[in-house]
Amino acid sequence: MLSFVKNYLLERPDEQRLSWLFLYNKKATISGLVFLFLTFTALSLVDRFYFAADYYSKLPTPTATPFGWDSCFRLLFLPLANLLAIGLLCRYKGKSSNYLSWVSSVILLLTMLSLVFSGVTQTYYSANDYTWEVVALIVFTFTMFGMPFRVSFFISFIMMLSGLAFLLFDKVEQRVVIYNTTFLLSIWFAMIVGALRKAELRRENYKTVNLLHNYTLELDAKAKELSQKNQELQQFAYASSHDLQEPLRTISSFVAILERRLSGQLTDDLKTYMGYIQKSTERMKHLIQAILEYSHIGRNLKLEAVNCQELLELIVDDLNYSITNAGAAIHFVNMPTISCYKTEFSMLMQNLIGNAIKFRKQGVAPVVSITYTDEGEAHHFTVTDNGIGIEVKHLEKVFALFGRLHTKDEYEGAGIGLAHCRKIVEIHGGNIWVESQPGTGSNFHFTISKKLNQIANETNAQLHHAH
């Protein structure tokens, strides 16, 4: 009991207020009312037939109510009216508890006043009764104003004790004392039930909060783990590229020495085989390099405003050799200035244009056009060519890492260019897809989010959080 008082009543924060305790749940309300009714009925019966039998017998018959129903009504009316008022107001969402307290208090005040001055009470009680009524009214009103739970609890408790003391030492006023004590007792009881319920709710809340907290911790740990795994993967890429390249380098170094030292002694066959070894090691080197580059995309991103027209002109300059070689024409006009990761974006464009030139039809000069559409939330670029095209069943495959549709003899490459492109578009918060007609050409579409800043911030925040 002591620990209950200590834990749930004394150490509760002030946010618990009587006005809410009454309404906290049906259990608190109903048990409070039942308790009040039963105690009152019992006490009024004792009062009527034991303490004040003489008093009642002397009253004129019409005004006398056999079981003290008028008093019963008076006492029940207080919490009932209050409950009714708050209950009604509670139906209107958005009304604050303070507002409810005020309104209910006013209703209560009016009820009490009407009772006091209506003459109902005067039939039975002396002037002393009013003192009690007023004190009870003040307590009740104050609690309704939102007096801290603890304070209202103790005031009513002290009043109840003093009521009991009156009962013991002052026989004259015992009737009144019984009524008022009962009244306060019922409030007290409802408060305890409400407080218990509230404590229960708090415990449930606490559990939920705890659970959420645990989830958050778990998520944090997961994010941390992920970023760690990512770093490990980067390191792995470096390490493996180092370790894989070492033997390769040795092979090509010694093949070169062999070729040099055996020059003149090699047959044509052997020369071809040496050539195969050299070429294969070269290709392996490129593949490893490509993996390394792939793992590099997305590191040290720097968002900047890029004039696409100028950028494309630069790319065309860079690709000058293959463009001239293939007799290609590259068209683009009125390209916008967009905010993106310049290095990566440039790599993307270069890859797509390079592909458009590389996969050209035999005997047809490649024509590549780059067009732009503003899609509100995103920038939409399209790279159109008149090349060999891609069969529908292969459309998805082209974006896979090491996804190749042709033999190395037909078209050179590591099969990584479009995988790079996809990764670059993904870090730009966009999509990449291709439409194609075999033999006619391909349209490579990709989008770049306009909210890159936001995405970057979020990613940074996550990374920051994870570290």
């Binding site: 470096y238 180092h242 070492e246 380098r249 040795t250």
Partner: protein, 138 residues
Amino acid sequence: MKQTLNCIMLIDDDHPTNVYHRIVLEEGGFAGHVITYQSAEAALEYLKGTYNEEHPRPSLIFLDINMPRVNGWEFLEQYEKLLPEQRAGNVVVMLSTSANPNDLKRAAENPFVMEYHDKPLNEEFLSEIISKYWESEE
């Protein structure tokens, strides 16, 4: 005229790499002596010894980063504790297969590492560093 250094030290755990680098150095006529070590510990032991005709002081060290037990960085820590006259004449060059940005940064910060280069060594790079660190002194 091409400058020939008295002694060049190669430290790499990979034997074929050492052999190849020795061939490149010798064929290019870059050094009178080429000392190769497959472990950093053995190389440090050599540096701690007294220098003489048969035990020449290296002018240049090519150091691999990725080695078992004592790696290139750990070698440099030990190297720093050597007496100045025990250290190589001039230059330590770090060698690596992959240009790991972390390694690059570390190499740039280390006072003993003058250059950072991808393997394998070739004549071009060798001529370049020799003209950079030796011919300018003359």
